[in-house]
Amino acid sequence: MNPGADFGGDLVFSRVVTDPGEALRRALDDSLTGYAEFVPADALLLGEGGDGIVAFEDGVPVRVRHSAGTVGDAAVAALALPGPYRVRFFAVADPPLGPDARVPPDGLAERLAGDPALAARTRERAPEGDDGTGLDAVEAFLEDEARVEEIRERAREEAEARAAELGLDGVLDR
């Protein structure tokens, strides 16, 4: 399994880590820009459960995609498994993945590594505002009624589709 092959770049490091925080710290300490493949043990050993791609800018994880098709926070949640992981980091000047895969800078440190100190350090490094955490970005979002309504609408559709998937139809009219 080689999920990173499509994006090219030079291999910076390849390690099997029990604590994914090790790889995140290395990327942060070395201010790496590029992307990392996170392959959980189940995917590595059993070919099950899928793996993820994390784009880094200046050491900060900025976008995530899971091989199951999820992006952003959902992809981070899908990747959050007990270790070990094989992590391979490739340096590229223009890291892959689109804006829909955006994650908060501390998302992986919190969710994957469970390391608040690393999360704090990553937040400090993250440029203000371009990840949707700056006040201007938040205010612009909240003033954009159409965008908010679109999120709500999509969530309602998802909830209904998922209800059918999970056999929950009966609660929809509760």
């Binding site: 709500r152 909830a159 999970l166």
Partner: protein, 257 residues
């Protein structure tokens, strides 16, 4: 009287578990409160509550054929009844999330308020079940675009499943966040009131490291005071314990996908 709240965020890192315990401890000054770690895939309430060594947890109650009473998995801590969940992945895989319904029905007999610390995702039966079963959700969010988007998502899921919004809590709020400008713009989108804004506080991280809930570890910290204020804003609705138990027993529970 009993009301079950799912404390949910839709994303990780918002301080949901810290908030669940803090609201629980604050509400326990008025009510009999039971806190359940319903984040069965990524349980961490036990670490926050100093229950790392709990022998019996929610996992045992969710496993078929395990002869364990609900009472065996409840622990009296910090003025609360706490039902922690284990962190063993095999137990999570084998657990039947639908049994949560029975467990909560049983707990409802002795509680005024039940808080379900809910998973930070919506992608599976075990993840949506607390939101389906609860009377209302408490949304824990942060003043960021991703966190607000996810809170809105949870609200819509909850509404689709007939679960209302009891309140929205902004957590980990930092000085530069301009929260006083964010709140008025955010509140019109939520179906419940914004019950509080909790500052980002080192005391919360120190409490977590110490394995103690914030309100026990640093009761006078700014964050702890903000949680007290938020709990006071939550209107707990009266319902009969037996009625809730019955409703839980009869709730439609999803099949495993």
């Amino acid at each position: 009287m009993v009301e079950a709240f799912a404390v949910a965020s839709g994303k990780g890192g918002t301080g949901k578990t810290t908030s669940t315990l803090a609201l629980g401890i604050a509400l326990a000054e008025t009510y009999d409160v039971t806190v359940v770690d319903a984040d069965t895939g990524m349980a961490n309430l036990l670490f926050h509550a100093g229950l790392d060594d709990a022998d019996v947890t929610l996992h045992d109650l969710l496993l078929e054929g395990r002869d364990v009473d609900v009472a065996d998995a409840t622990y009296d801590r910090f003025g609360l009844t706490v039902v922690p969940c284990g962190t063993d992945l095999a137990a999570f895989r084998d657990a039947d999330p639908a049994r949560l319904r029975e467990v909560v029905a049983e707990l409802a007999r002795d509680a005024d308020v039940i808080l379900l610390d809910s998973p930070a995702a919506l992608g599976s039966t075990s993840a949506v079940l607390p939101v389906v079963l609860a009377d209302r959700v408490v949304l824990v969010t942060q003043p960021t675009v991703p966190a607000l988007s996810d809170a809105l998502k949870v609200q819509e899921y909850a509404a689709s499943y007939g679960t209302g919004v009891a309140g929205v809590l902004f957590n980990k709020v930092r000085d530069g966040d301009g929260i006083e400008r964010v709140v008025p713009k955010a509140e019109r989108y939520f179906d419940g009131p914004i019950v509080g804004t909790v500052p980002d506080d080192d005391a919360a991280r120190a409490a977590r490291r110490a394995g103690q809930p914030l309100l026990s570890f640093a009761p006078d910290s700014p964050a702890a005071r903000a949680y007290h204020a938020a709990a006071a804003e939550l209107d707990v609705r009266r319902a009969d314990g037996e009625t809730l138990a019955e409703r839980f027993r009869s709730a439609v529970v999803p099949e495993e996908p």
